[in-house]
Symmetry: C2
Subunit: 347 residues, 2 copies
């Protein structure tokens, strides 16, 4: 082994070391920045799970199978036209493209239909916390206007029996003697929905594949976090974990041009602090689920981003920043699970 005298480094070795340092520095240049972004993003978002499990409603193959069928079942609505899929079509990434959902006998829902993808892990379903979870949402939807319009849960159960769902409910809930109940209807749909996660390019990026999203999207991610968006739009779903006042800095309707001033969660709690408070929506697949906001008042994702900067953060995001954030949001468009891409045939 060659010995080196302490305190002495020959000129050639210094030059070589400097050259190497320069090359490494140049090569790592952008990724050094990205590493910072990446580490920060790890803190905000975390990995998307394979399914959104719930102890109250364990996922089983038989429940998933039945749940997907029930999702397509229109014959349990009062006028025979409404199924879950009507307002949550898979072809449009689980949303309906309307400002506000339209249900039984063309009655207009109070708010925009959120996508069913990546929905089951939120603090509640829908916008104002009046649906505890996706199971509760399925259960509540069947009654009265504006969704399914059925008069009672019993009427739904009776119809399911008539349609021949008995064997399917027995397979999904083998320990029960009379399994066709509204609770099991909700559990089956919920179990299916709990499988609806859509990993996309952003997740590949978060796993360490820097090239999975392009430079603009990477800058967008940085801006998204630096500007403060991730304070609310966090978790693997980029939202769905908290309620927030919509319009902290300025009334939202001044920018969204909303026709009505929706009081939001106040309608549920009657607590003045909840006025104009809504659940922070999940941003997964947001580029595919226009129009935006609780009332679908804005069509353009770029405009939506800019409005959010204005009314939530008091920031006038530049065109470049909006473009970058929008590119980042594009990278949240994910792959629909194969099972959700096939249509079930109904009894």
């Amino acid at each position: 082994m060659k010995r080196r005298r302490r305190g002495y480094l020959p000129m050639t070795e210094i030059v070589v070391a400097l050259v190497i340092a320069c090359f490494v520095g140049a090569a790592l240049g952008s990724s050094s920045t990205d590493d910072g972004v990446w580490n920060k993003a790890k803190g905000f978002f975390g990995p998307l799970p394979e399914a959104m499990h719930s102890q109250k409603n364990p996922i089983t193959p038989a429940k998933i199978r039945l749940g997907k069928m029930l999702l397509y079942e229109s014959r349990i609505s009062a006028d025979g036209t409404v199924s879950c899929i009507k307002c949550h079509p898979i072809s449009l990434y689980g949303a309906d493209g309307l400002r506000k959902a339209i249900g039984n006998q063309c009655q207009v829902s109070p708010r925009n239909a959120p996508t069913i993808f990546n929905a089951a892990a939120q603090i509640s379903a829908h916008w104002i916390g009046n649906r505890a979870d996706v199971e509760d949402q399925a259960r509540q939807s069947v009654i009265g206007p504006p969704a399914f319009g059925m008069p009672t849960y019993q009427a739904v159960e009776k119809r399911l029996k008539e349609l021949g769902y008995g064997p399917l409910f027995r397979q999904a809930f083998p320990e029960e003697r009379e399994p066709i109940t509204i609770e099991n209807f909700a559990k089956a749909i919920g179990a299916f929905e709990r499988t609806l996660v859509t990993p996309g390019p952003f997740d590949d990026f978060m796993k360490g594949n820097q090239g999975a999203i392009d430079e603009t999207a990477r800058l967008g991610l940085k801006t998204f976090m630096d500007a403060g968006c991730a304070a609310c739009h966090n978790s693997p779903y980029l939202g769905g974990q908290q309620y927030q006042k919509f319009g902290i800095v300025a009334p939202y309707w001044q920018y969204t041009k909303s026709a009505e001033k929706d009081v939001g969660r106040y309608a549920v709690t009657k607590n003045e602090a909840d006025r104009y408070v809504f659940k922070v929506p999940v941003l997964r697949n947001v580029a595919k689920t226009a129009p935006y906001f609780h009332d679908g008042s804005v069509d353009s994702l770029a405009e939506t981003v800019w409005i959010m900067g204005k009314v939530q953060l008091g920031k006038d995001l530049t065109k470049v920043q909006v473009k970058e954030i929008t590119a980042f949001l594009d990278a949240l468009t994910g792959a629909i699970p194969l099972d959700a891409l096939t249509v079930p045939l109904l009894p």
Copy 2:
């Protein structure tokens, strides 16, 4: 070689021959009948093709792909809720389970929505001959109430451009400079529909597999032909090849309890001979597409069969005959093509 005297047969040989004849006769008993039924059926029905080709609209993969997407596209309807799939959901075998289809702004269609499966080979689309073929049906549906409710074809074309369908139309119609036209919209949907054939147990039976349908269904096929049903319900589609007066022997509404007396094809031709004349519907998948008749006035397939005997053939079919025919009709439920079972993601 042993020589036998002419005109003489020993007693033992006679007995053996008789015994053999009896055994063979017993063994062939039912299948002798089935052979007769089978030969007769070959004359009436013939083999189902792999696709329903049209020289005017050759099927190509790019057209099929685009056509399936357009079938799911609701954003080209006036209120944003109507797509082809709304009234022809795959999950219900291409029909909607309603008495009469419900379209844009909840307007009720004049008649029951026929299935899109095995539909493209009929003499016309729908019930009364006012839609030349599936392409014409797609084209006409988008305009005005009660389906899509769009004001003009131009409005549909404009919307398709806005939604980003340009590249898909260019792939499907590569020789055209401005391919987003209502004609190409119709051709793409038509091309997809022309692939929607659903071979089932009946086709396996017709290929020589006697056990593909059970004894009751085989008897039902015989009764179906003997009673006269196949005079109108023929071709590989068991219908769709002719117009017929509904209620030859007795007015149909006396049996269907129809709320209205639909004049049928008379509405198109103003020819008195066409009063109460409708296209003979295809019976493929009929067990899956209740309710029945042009106005969906009857829910039960068995009752439908009995009514047809009464009003078309002047026959009071027995309960056993109705049961057999219904079992035969069950054997017409076929396999949905795999491509039709997957949901397209839209631009």
